[in-house]
Amino acid sequence: MSHETINYPGLNLGSAHGADHDAAQRMMFGFWAFLMSDAILFGMVFATYVISATATAGGPGPHDLYDIRSVFIETLLLLASSFTFGMASLALKYRHGKPRLIGWLAITLVLGVAFLGFELHDFITMFAKGGVPSRSGYLSAFFDLVPLHGLHVTAGCIWLICLVGQIARYGLDTKVKLGIMRLALFWHFLDIVWIAIFSVVYLAGLT
């Protein structure tokens, strides 16, 4: 088993899942191609942010607007949710039963929603301090980049709710399994984008 080649990105179901394992290869490759194009999109928005970072036009800058504690909590929440999604993937692969799988997915959802709550609170605080998108080039770029990631997380949360519904309605058939596996890739990918955001936007902004 340990020398089985990895057929696609993410946790591989392995030959014990028979036809589902084979069906996964094409699906996961296609989804991975989407994620890579999404990464390029994020990369360009990052480039836009970096070149606009100094264009504050006399308005509030990173030191006035960012709250490192809040960002740190958001980072931990997203990291924890990545781990709990990993546990869900294991529950799927090793057939720990639907209740455990749904349990891990539910914890992931709670962590994701908590992340969004903190992020929204950050934005509201920024608005209150005069940090609105129309204030300067820097703020336009900020509100292009960070909420774009937040929007992705929101989409991931909605997708997760749909999947839990599908598990309850259809059970763990091929389509549902592949859905969970693709969302796992998406979720871990968003956590990687967040690493770039907290490093490039928040930490570098606060140096």
């Binding site: 088993m1 340990s2 080649t5 990895i6 057929n7 696609y8 990105p9 993410g10 946790l11 591989n12 392995g14 014990a16 490759f29 991975w32 191609a33 890579m36 194009s37 990464a39 390029i40 990369g43 360009m44 990052f46 480039a47 836009t48 970096v50 070149i51 490192i68 740190f72 980072t75 931990l76 990291l79 924890a80 990545s82 781990f83 990993g86 546990m87 294991l90 692969k93 090793y94 890739l185 871990h188 990918f189 956590d191 990687i192 690493i195 770039a196 907290f198 490093s199 490039v200 930490l203 570098a204 606060l206 140096t207």
Partner: protein, 118 residues
Amino acid sequence: MMMHAIDADGRAERKDEERREFRSYVWGIALALVLTLLPFALVHWFGIPRFTLLIVIGVFALVQMIVHFRFFLHIGFRQRREDLMLILFSAMLLTIMVAGTIWIMASLALRMSMPAQP
């Protein structure tokens, strides 16, 4: 009898694999936590010169991304060739486009601000 032995073998092997994969996630989150905590602590508590700090943050971010790829997305050298090529090609595109954009715009900003004093 034979079938039974093979079955038990397969089960033990799967248990083994499960333990290994579980441990991989635990390693992933432990390493990621360290790689997150350190740069946050450095920015928050230590007055390190700005340029050094930026480089340190960048290195930590890159290493943490590799950790996430390895332990959460399970991407390694046993990957299918097509998958690895897609990842490397995307990384190359990202590097060219992002670094190129920043380079050109920074250079432009520098040239535009130079002739302030005749």
